[in-house]
């Protein structure tokens, strides 16, 4: 269970997020939606300890709000950043080994990544930098999912990815959501609908509307709030 209470965060003197509160239980998806610049990515970065923040973040009842990133990771929260960044010079296998951090048998975890995304399984020895954009998204997702996290923060995992790859990514995200609490930043209404759960619409750093994705969609609120 992830509980966020009155979270505020920003960059330097600029406050971007104000008074964010929500909870996500294991097996639930919380879709964080909003226009560009609303503070969606900032929310994930703040939760992951990349940005300083105020407020309380509890993971399974433990306050992790002031922990550094590696200890937030150790507590069971993982992050799939939007850019699906990789470490230059390191192979796909290296990335998976780093993600596993001795939390489970390395070979089991790597084999699971290969089952999740066969394209990765065939490229374990390849430098991650040479992967295509879609394969990098797969790698970022695999890194997050093979550690069996309590919470997964995903930042637009299907953005800029070919439809054929999206077809592979969405079931993987859905499967993750059966055991973990998923916080998903998503602009694509179709993806949000496919994964279901609750939606939180951010505007200027605050949650202005929340409800189930389906309900907000049926009432036309999603389209109205997200229209560019």
């Amino acid at each position: 269970m992830l509980e966020v209470e009155d979270l505020s965060a920003g960059y330097g003197q600029t406050t971007v997020l104000r008074g964010i509160s929500f909870t996500v239980a294991p097996g639930e998806v919380a879709c964080v939606m909003g226009r560009n610049g609303a503070g969606k990515t900032t929310l994930l970065r703040a939760l992951m300890g990349v940005l300083p923040k105020t407020g309380v973040v509890r993971l399974s009842g433990t306050d992790i709000s002031q922990r550094p990133g590696h200890r937030i990771n150790a507590a069971g929260m993982v992050w799939v950043p939007q850019e699906a960044s990789v470490f230059p010079g390191l192979t796909v296998r290296d990335h998976l080994v780093i993600a596993l951090q001795r939390r489970r048998e390395e070979e089991d975890g790597i084999a699971e990544a290969g089952e999740l995304f066969p394209a990765l399984g065939e490229r374990l020895g390849q430098e991650a930098q040479t992967l295509s954009g879609g394969e990098r998204k797969m790698l970022a997702l695999a890194q997050a999912l093979i550690v069996k996290p309590k919470v997964v923060l995903m930042d637009e995992p299907t953005e800029g990815v070919a439809p054929v790859v999206v077809e592979q990514l969405i079931p993987a995200i859905g499967a993750a959501a059966t055991e973990s609490a998923v916080v998903l930043v998503e602009q694509n209404i179709d993806t949000a609908l496919a994964l279901g759960g609750n939606a939180y619409i951010l505007e200027q750093g605050s949650i202005v509307v929340s409800g189930t994705v389906r309900d907000l969609y049926d009432r036309g609120i999603l389209e109205q709030r997200l229209a560019l």
Binding site: T41, H70, N73, P81, E83, S85, F87, P88, Q129
Partner: protein
């Protein structure tokens, strides 16, 4: 520079190339990987040399001194990183000033304890052997062998060990590494301590072929930076190439000209090297490091 301490013969080309690589390897960690413009590098070499001298004085055992030198230099490096430099990774100018200040302090402390007078360390292995008509001191051969062994060890350590993997990830993208569970602060501290220890080892190895005074470390500072920069920051392979080219050329030039002129020529070669380096292809590794990945820290919100 150190030329004055070395006789001119063909083996000297190899020895000086090894010396250049040896003194630059520690800087590969602190400057090449961690990006600290580490002006205290020379004083870490100094600590290694004077540790050996002190242990020789008190116990008569030079090899024991050489074993303790990297330990002490590593501990001093760790203390500097934890105490000062870890707060300055994002402030390069401040870290440059801090290392400059630390270097001054260490140099003055060494001068206070050991006096500014020149002192010598005995070579643990005396004598020499004949090779191609030249008399080659055994200790110089040891320097070449230790440098080669150190390089193999460092390359394998960074490539194969868990710490090496974490270090390469942290250097490439500290934010991503941290959020993937790597304690990037501890990794940086470890890298700085390791680079400092290797600098200490270099000081210990070079002490017997030099005359020690508190300025000893400064002799190596400029050349270490030249080797790391020309080799392509962050590339060990490039470091070896640059060390061999610069050190070897410097030694070879002495056959035909004065030491001072040779050093001037080396600096000229270095300047040209920095200009055309990307054409040589030795820096491919280092260049790719700086391309797409560091973006996590600067991404949009």
């Amino acid at each position: 520079m150190i030329l004055g301490f070395l006789p001119v013969d063909s083996f000297n080309v190899i020895v000086l190339a090894a010396v250049f690589v040896l003194v630059a390897t520690g800087l590969h960690f602190t400057f090449g990987m961690l990006n600290v413009v580490n002006l205290v590098h020379g004083e870490l070499i100094l600590i290694g040399a004077y540790t050996t001298l002190q242990v020789q004085k008190t116990t008569g055992n030079v090899l024991l001194g050489m074993a303790l030198a990297p330990l002490l230099a590593g501990v001093v490096g760790l203390a500097m990183e934890r105490g000062v430099l870890r707060f300055l990774y994002e402030r390069p100018l401040d870290s440059l000033l801090a290392t400059f200040g630390l270097a001054l302090i260490i140099r003055q402390v060494v001068q206070f304890i050991f006096s500014p007078n020149p002192q010598t360390v005995r070579s643990p292995i005396g004598g020499s052997f004949l090779l191609g008509g030249f008399n080659i001191p055994w200790w110089r051969l040891v320097i070449v062998l230790v440098t080669a062994g150190l390089l193999v060890g460092v390359i394998q350590f960074l490539k194969r060990s868990r710490f090496g993997l974490q270090a390469r990830a942290t250097v490439a993208n500290p934010v991503l590494a941290e959020t993937m569970g790597i304690n990037s602060g501890a990794v940086r501290a470890g890298l700085f301590a390791l680079g400092s220890a290797i600098a200490g080892l270099a000081g210990a190895m070079l002490a017997p072929i030099s005359t020690l005074n508190p300025q000893f470390g400064l002799l190596f500072l400029v050349n270490s930076f030249l080797v790391v920069i020309i080799g392509g920051k962050g590339s060990l392979r490039g470091l070896v190439v640059a060390g061999v080219v610069l050190g070897g050329t410097l030694a070879a030039l002495q056959f035909v000209m004065s030491t001072v002129l040779a050093q001037i020529l080396i600096l000229a070669i270095a300047i040209v090297g920095v200009r055309v380096r990307p054409l040589l292809g030795i820096v491919r590794e280092a260049q790719t490091k700086t391309t797409p990945a560091a973006s996590t820290s600067a991404s949009a919100r």
